[in-house]
């Protein structure tokens, strides 16, 4: 991973990755949170795109709500959410000068190639099919940590 002085997401050795997990489904949120914790990540969850943007400090006039030291190293989001989809959230993150380097992973229960390509083209790090398994999350966090 390239280091950069303005980078929000470079891990210092000994740091625990901080992941923001976004999903409108309560059960899925609990599951992804546990999977990430089991992979030694610190987790913050959000139930929709606007809340996620708020937490990332990307809403107009917004302050970064997470304390200065808890920079987000990765965002994992569901695709199908009412209001703002995961794709729309991805776009907003990639449009932000501050957050655009943060890897964004999209999850979906539906295996639709055009959907997957669209997300990858917009800069998603990875697309994962639900239901999420430990091996999926391990793969992600390995990428993050090396």
């Amino acid at each position: 991973m390239a280091a950069s002085s303005s980078s929000n997401w470079v891990m210092e050795s000994g740091d625990v990755p901080h992941v923001l997990a976004v999903d409108d489904n309560l059960i899925d949120r609990k599951l992804v949170e546990k999977l990430l914790r089991n992979s030694s990540c610190k987790v913050t969850t959000a139930e929709n795109g606007p809340r996620a943007l708020e937490l990332l400090g990307l809403t107009s006039g917004g302050q970064n709500n997470m304390n200065g030291r808890s920079k987000v190293n990765m965002i994992i989001t569901d695709y199908c959410m009412p209001g703002m989809t995961g794709y729309e959230l991805l776009k907003k993150i990639k449009e932000s000068s501050v957050m655009k380097e943060v890897p964004v992973v999209i999850m979906s229960s539906e295996n639709i190639p055009t959907r997957i390509n669209k997300c990858l083209e917009e800069g998603a790090q990875m697309f994962i099919l639900k239901p999420l398994k430990q091996s999926d999350v391990r793969k992600l966090t390995c990428q993050l940590m090396n």
């Binding site: 489904n25 059960i27 609990k30 546990k34 089991n38 239901p131």
Partner: protein, 146 residues
Amino acid sequence: MDGIVQLQRQLVDYTASLFHEGFLDDQFNQLQQLQDESNPDFVVEVVTLFFEDAERLLNELTKTLGQPSIDFKRLDAHVHQLKGSSSSIGAQRIHRVCISFRNSCEEQNVEGCLKNLQQVKQEYSLVKSKLETLFRMEQQILAAGG
């Protein structure tokens, strides 16, 4: 000691039967593997959340289908939620009925939707009772010192 071994064997057999009869799939194993000393009640917690969420959704579905003019979009949104959470906990039969249910919604097939709702209620009731039995058996083993 013998008593515990007996109980444990019964639990193993009962669990196997649930998989064999298609009530549960491998995703349930994923949940069990996530349970550890830091989270000894993880499976019960997630499944309980699922029960609460499913009941809420089933009520919503019943209400929506009872309207003089059926909002199929709303119906589909709820079925999508139930499909997602049932898949995430490994409740295979519910997940499958939800797939049919979504098709009925897409076709705006009222008869189909009514039938699917009946089916999903039935499957929910069955898996709930079976999982409650499973958890009770686990409790008995713990109580017996296992």
